[in-house]
Amino acid sequence: MVKKLFSFIQKFYVAIIFLILYSPVIVLMVLSFNDSKSRVIWGGFTLKWYSRMFNSSIIVETFIVTVTLALLSAAIAVVLGTAACVGIEAMRRRNKQIVLGATNIPLLNADIVTGISLMLFFSRFLNAGFPTLLIAHITFELPYVILSIMPRMRQINTNAYNAALDLGATPLYAFFKIILPEIFPGIITGFIMALTMSLDDFTISYFTKGPGVSTLPTMIYSELRKGVKPEMYALSTLMFLAVLILLVIVNLKGSPMLSKPFANAKNGGKKHAQTMRYRR
């Protein structure tokens, strides 16, 4: 009896936590189907905000920019991150720790600091625009990519690589045949994480995008300043779902190092990724 009660309390507690955590998002989703413009009155179910959203050229354009940016930056970050992991793994232990620590600084750094410093840096050398946005995104994605590939890299028996050389493989052939297949799950995880980071980044994008370009988060922000448009609810809902799906994929792939705490609290994802580092 007491046991039953106790288990009920446990479940109730967890349910409350999730309700508080996700109710704002649920409200947003519900409102995106609301036929009334009001935020408090339910005017019936409609999909008109969604159709309006897809008919808005600004939204569609921004969507294309955002997705291109996310895919391109994630792809480049994954290539750079893999190369970085190969290099870090080959280092002596002390250098390895120093470099790994250095790559993690952007994780701990406040987004606004990263954003402003990148803006200052770019203003000296480049005109703000899509290229600066791309470089900025690669910069903050890179640590996540390294963090998801490195554990895989460490699991590889270094002798497996030596064995490939021993059997006549060139270093490049050995990398593609032996190392890459082993770290590939980590690369995929890193890619998806980079995608989600890029899709929902606001702060850094805001400072580095330049006047002509917008990503969905920065556009939503500037649109909301002009007044609340229910299309933005619809857009936010879709973005939430997109990121959610990506995170579910990461979790199903079962990368224990990062995906779990990351998925549990979407908003606190960055912080969780940091704490994971120390738990290791």
Partner: protein, 358 residues
């Protein structure tokens, strides 16, 4: 230069972070020889193997392979193959793909590769394992696959880095016979690394005993066991009584205040020496018949023999015997002159017996 020398290491020295790992190693390996590098961990044996395999460049010295200098040749260009510690199979490839790895690089035909895989699996007694994954195999089986993967490339020299280290005792013993059989069937040179003296004695044609980056002794297993050159070798190869002695004259040594006849000559008169007597060479006799008298202080049954400690003239003698003598019994100690091995006192600390090694 002798014609049958396949690998010649000349004046090889290596240091890591200023710490010397190999000091001027000179070693030649004959064609079709089973040579074992034996020593405690950190003695430089694996480093030597890595230099032969091409994974490490020596700071100084040359590696000569069949008369050609290969010191600067990368591992993928060398005509030798390695069986690594902990197998190092490719986990995402099947057994057949693992074995075919080197052959595919050499662009051999499909039929050739198929035949070779079959032949190699038969050689290591694992026929029908083509489509298994490495993780589904036991340690001993994985080790055999690692050997098969190396030998399909028909290397002239096979390097084996403690290949049996991760296996249990029974498995290790059966693999020892397997390796000797393989070596004889293939007719190639084996360079074997181990810290297990029994393994070395069982399998090798030649044993190279190493310690702290120096070669201590090179010889046949019988040489190394019966005529250890210094206290380190005597201590590392099996158990020994190593006692301080004084060489009174040729063929007579004083140990623990008693005079023992021996067969060694040329040490001079009244010179301090180390005397090595193997525990199985100590004969326990009636007290008055022995050279010195002692008392049995402990007795252990070890299966094949009894292990006894005998306290005599202040030294605890280690004795192996098939005859049991109870604790407390007074005995005489007699050693056949032929079984007394006299050694010079160590000149440098590198040659000293390391006390932390069993």
């Amino acid at each position: 230069m002798e014609k049958d020398i396949i690998i010649d290491l000349k004046d090889i020295s290596v240091s890591f972070d200023g710490e010397p790992v190999l000091n001027n190693i000179n070693l030649y390996i004959r064609d079709n020889e089973f040579i074992t590098l034996l020593g405690p961990s950190g003695c430089g044996k694996t480093t030597t193997l890595r230099i032969i395999g091409g994974f490490l460049k020596p700071d100084t010295g040359r590696v000569i392979f069949e008369g050609k200098d290969i010191t600067d040749l990368p591992p993928n260009k060398r005509q030798l193959n390695t069986v690594f510690q902990n197998y190092a199979l490719f986990p995402h490839l099947t057994i057949a793909e693992n074995i075919a790895f080197g052959l595919k690089i050499k662009k051999k035909s499909k039929e050739y590769i198929k035949d070779k895989i079959k032949y190699a699996l038969k050689l290591v007694n694992l026929e029908g394992f083509e489509n298994r994954m490495p993780q589904s195999l036991s340690g001993g089986q994985q080790q055999r696959i690692a050997i098969a993967r190396a030998i399909v490339n028909e290397p002239k020299v096979l390097l084996l880095d403690e290949p049996l280290g991760a296996l249990d005792l029974k498995m290790r013993q059966s693999m020892q016979y397997e390796l000797i059989r393989l070596k004889n069937e293939l007719g190639i040179t084996f360079v074997y690394i181990t810290h297990d003296q029994e393994e070395a004695l069982t399998m090798s044609d030649t044993i190279v005993v190493m310690n702290k980056g120096n070669i201590q002794q090179i010889g046949t297993p019988e040489d190394i066991y019966n005529e250890p050159k210094n206290a380190f070798v005597a201590d590392f190869i099996g158990e020994s009584n190593i006692i301080d002695g004084i060489m009174l004259e040729d063929k007579l040594v004083e140990i623990l205040g008693a005079k023992f006849p021996c067969v060694d000559t040329g040490f001079g008169r009244n010179k301090p020496v180390d005397v090595v007597i193997r525990p199985e060479d100590v004969d326990l006799v009636e007290p008055e018949k022995g050279t010195i008298k002692g008392v049995v202080t402990s007795l252990l049954f070890k299966g094949v023999h009894y292990e006894m400690d005998v306290l005599a003239n202040g030294y605890e003698w280690l004795v192996h015997s098939t005859d049991m003598v109870p604790v407390g019994r007074e005995v005489g100690i007699f050693v056949d002159p032929y079984n007394i091995q006299i050694m010079h006192k160590p000149i440098s600390e590198d040659e000293e017996a390391s006390s932390d090694e069993e």
